[in-house]
């Protein structure tokens, strides 16, 4: 069943929704990366919570005008308007008052959400509001979507994605190098405005899929996940888009098989799973890689200290050092150096002596900065330079 959903075999509507969710995920992942790099990830939370009063008021207004309150384009328009007002409130509070952005975000999200709940209780008392299904906007519900709504979702998700891709350059510039962006004539304020506009559109399109409480996860989680895999500008954006796309696709597919469950939490948990895998297993920043690196570094330090002790004829007492050196065939179990051990020890001592000369000589200042007690000096100096240094080692002996 899930296989069918993943292969888009569950009918036209489910396919549209799944593809739409995937496109939305890509757009959210890419847009969220810029938000994350500008350190404003949680502004998305304020924007999304601020959509609720707009949804409710749009419903009331459409019913009052004699229409069907559940008309999705109207609801989304209302959501966009109130989200924009919420965004303006965040910026107003941050700029004009002494409040920090975090406080402004918290105030706007809780007050707008609270007001939205008030409107929802009003809607519930209306005769037309009994089956309004506005609760679906809280946590997302894609099951049993109308054909027209599914088309709207897929098309608008595609449009948002196109918008993000078209505006990618200035956004990247502002996110990764704001100083350079300003120097080349971009206005940071205007780029931020565009970024917020895109986040707003992503949020509004995502309301029906992920829901307003959790859509912020679709903005943050892919960007954070991508950071674990690369430090390069373009790559972060691409990986974040991919993570977002997979979350949306798989989440919507699972939701198509389990229609009783809200879609949002599923999408978010799929994304979180990808994040967990990255946190644990990514090379470089992952937990496993960090542990391995630490382990390797620790062994190198112990080895080096052990060899220097051997060269200076000092006994080694430290158990880990003895074990490591014995396993490498450098010492016998009783701590006496083997032939290989003696060779390695004198090489380590020579290395250390060369380094101390290099670090004392200001003409080697650049090379001296590479000293960490572990790097062999051959990796840093040319053979000519080494010969020069070696000449100085023997010089005192001649005198």
């Amino acid at each position: 069943m899930l296989g069918d959903a993943l292969l888009l075999q569950l009918g036209y509507n489910a396919t549209l929704v799944t593809v739409g969710a995937a496109l939305l995920g890509v757009a959210a992942g890419v847009a969220g990366t810029f938000l994350f790099l500008r350190k404003r990830a949680l502004v998305g939370d304020a924007i999304s919570h601020a959509t609720l009063p707009g949804v409710g008021l749009a419903f009331v207004l459409m019913v009052a005008l004699g229409g069907d309150g559940r008309w999705l384009p109207g609801l989304l328009l209302g959501a966009a308007v109130s989200a924009a007002i919420g965004l303006l409130c965040v910026q107003g509070l941050t700029r004009a008052t002494r409040l920090g952005e975090d406080a402004a975000i918290g105030a706007v999200l809780s007050v707008f959400f609270g007001f939205g709940i008030v409107i929802l209780t009003v809607v519930q008392t209306m005769t037309a509001g009994q089956q309004a299904g506005l609760e679906g906007f809280l946590l997302g519900s894609t099951a049993g979507m109308l054909r027209s709504d599914a088309i709207l979702l897929a098309v608008s998700a595609a449009v948002v994605l196109a918008l993000v891709l078209v505006l990618r350059r200035p956004l990247e510039l502002a996110a990764f190098d704001p100083g350079y962006a300003e120097a080349t004539g971009w206005s940071l304020g205007r780029i931020d405005l565009v970024m917020m506009g895109i986040v707003l559109v992503v949020t509004v399109v995502g309301l029906k899929v992920v829901g307003l409480i959790l859509i912020v996860a679709l903005l943050i989680v892919p960007a954070v996940t991508a950071r674990f895999w690369t430090d390069r500008t373009g790559h972060v954006v691409i990986i974040a888009g991919a993570v977002g796309g997979v979350s949306g696709y798989v989440g919507a597919a699972i939701s198509a098989v389990a229609p009783a469950l809200p879609t949002g939490p599923i999408v978010v948990l799929v994304g979180f799973l990808l994040f967990l895998v990255s946190l644990l297993f990514s090379p470089g920043r992952g937990v496993l890689a960090s542990l391995l690196m630490h382990h390797r570094y620790q062994r190198r330090v112990h080895m080096r200290q052990g060899l220097l002790a051997l060269a200076q004829g000092q006994p080694i007492f430290e158990a880990l050092t003895r074990r490591l050196m014995h396993r490498a065939g450098l010492i016998l179990p009783d701590g006496v150096a083997t032939q290989a051990g003696q060779a390695a020890a004198s090489k380590a001592l020579l290395d250390e002596t060369r380094w101390s000369l290099v670090r004392a000589d200001t003409s080697f200042a650049a090379a001296a900065t590479r000293y960490d007690g572990l790097t062999p000096i051959e990796d840093v100096l040319t053979p000519d330079q080494l010969r020069d240094v070696d000449g100085r080692i023997t010089a005192p002996k001649v005198v």
């Binding site: 404003r40 918290g106 809780s110 609270g114 007001f115 912020v216």
Partner: protein, 303 residues
């Protein structure tokens, strides 16, 4: 304003005031420490904690619920810190990852398990049910000194009053160290204060307030009260003592006006049903903040 008021509105209003003040008190310090969104994060992660506690014990008794919620809050703080350090991720983003994932997990657990026998669902978690905490045994103001009627008080009231007492005692006892470490952490450390444990204690006390309140009123009031009254109070004064006093006043006002507006406001304009009290209280706190941001004497930086 007679017997009906005492039975139907007095206890919800008192509970609302206790919740609001208990959240606003630690909120002052969180706001000044730029940790305002901790309240937001805590109130999201409380949900999975409560659901897991319910699944393990099969009851909705207070003890296991509080333990589960507190456990979830601690787990979230640890996870946020771990992600921030391991991935060198900015704390706001780390917070966003953790609390959305935990909330999503809580919602799915809740939807997958059979909770139809008990009063536990997502809507309830979000905006609680303040209106239902009525005092059926009350027959009028006289019931306030009637022991048998007092025994029928909704259990949330004494519980919330106790939480308020705990929070208030913590703030009063640690007033000086809290103030010092909030404004000048380096200086506080120089004096020998252990600022790390103190900061953690503040978060734990906030979590106690949030968890106790969550059960009665849902998370939306909790988030609003952690931030709005202290933020409005911040526009009124430059002195910490005055700010805390203002925030308590604003919190209590928001609770009372919000509840009255939600319960009676619709009747005044001719509608028949009331609206969500939790939502209205959050809305009123926002209006207070808006007024303070427009007209507060110390609203701008450097004033």
């Amino acid at each position: 304003m007679g017997a009906e008021f005492v039975a139907l509105s007095l206890t919800p209003i008192l509970i609302g005031v206790c919740v609001s003040v208990a959240c606003a008190l630690p909120g002052n310090f969180l706001l000044l420490r730029r940790q305002a969104l901790i309240g937001d994060a805590i109130s999201h992660v409380v949900l999975p904690g409560i659901v897991v506690a319910f699944l393990l014990t099969g009851t909705v008794r207070t003890g296991p619920m509080l333990l589960g919620a507190a456990g979830a809050a601690v787990l979230a703080v640890i996870a946020i810190e771990a992600i921030r350090r391991l991935g060198r991720i900015e704390s706001g983003a780390a917070m966003g990852v953790v609390f959305t994932a935990m909330f999503a997990g809580g919602v799915l657990l809740l939807e997958r398990s059979d909770t139809s026998s008990v009063h536990l669902d997502v809507e309830h978690a979000l905006y609680g049910n303040l209106e239902s905490l009525i005092w059926l045994d009350a027959t009028g103001w006289g019931s306030l000194i009637d022991a048998t009627a007092l025994a029928g008080l909704p259990v949330e009231l004494p519980r919330m009053a106790l939480a308020l007492l705990v929070v208030g005692a913590f703030i009063a006892l640690f007033w000086r160290p809290l103030a010092l470490s909030t404004f000048d952490e380096g200086f506080a450390r120089g004096l020998g204060l252990r600022t790390g444990p103190l900061g953690l204690a503040l978060v734990v006390v906030s979590a106690i307030a949030a968890v106790a309140a969550f059960d009665a009123v849902g998370s939306i009031i909790v988030i609003a009260m952690f931030i709005c009254p202290p933020a409005a109070a911040r526009m009124m004064t430059n002195r910490l003592g005055h700010q805390v006093a203002w925030s308590m006043l604003f919190a209590a006002l928001a609770a009372i006006i919000g509840y009255v507006l939600a319960g009676y406001g619709p009747l005044w304009i001719g509608a028949s049903a009331s609206v969500s009290a939790a939502g209205m209280i959050a809305t009123v706190s926002g209006i207070i903040l808006a007024v303070a941001a427009i007209a507060g004497p110390h609203r701008t930086r450097g004033s």
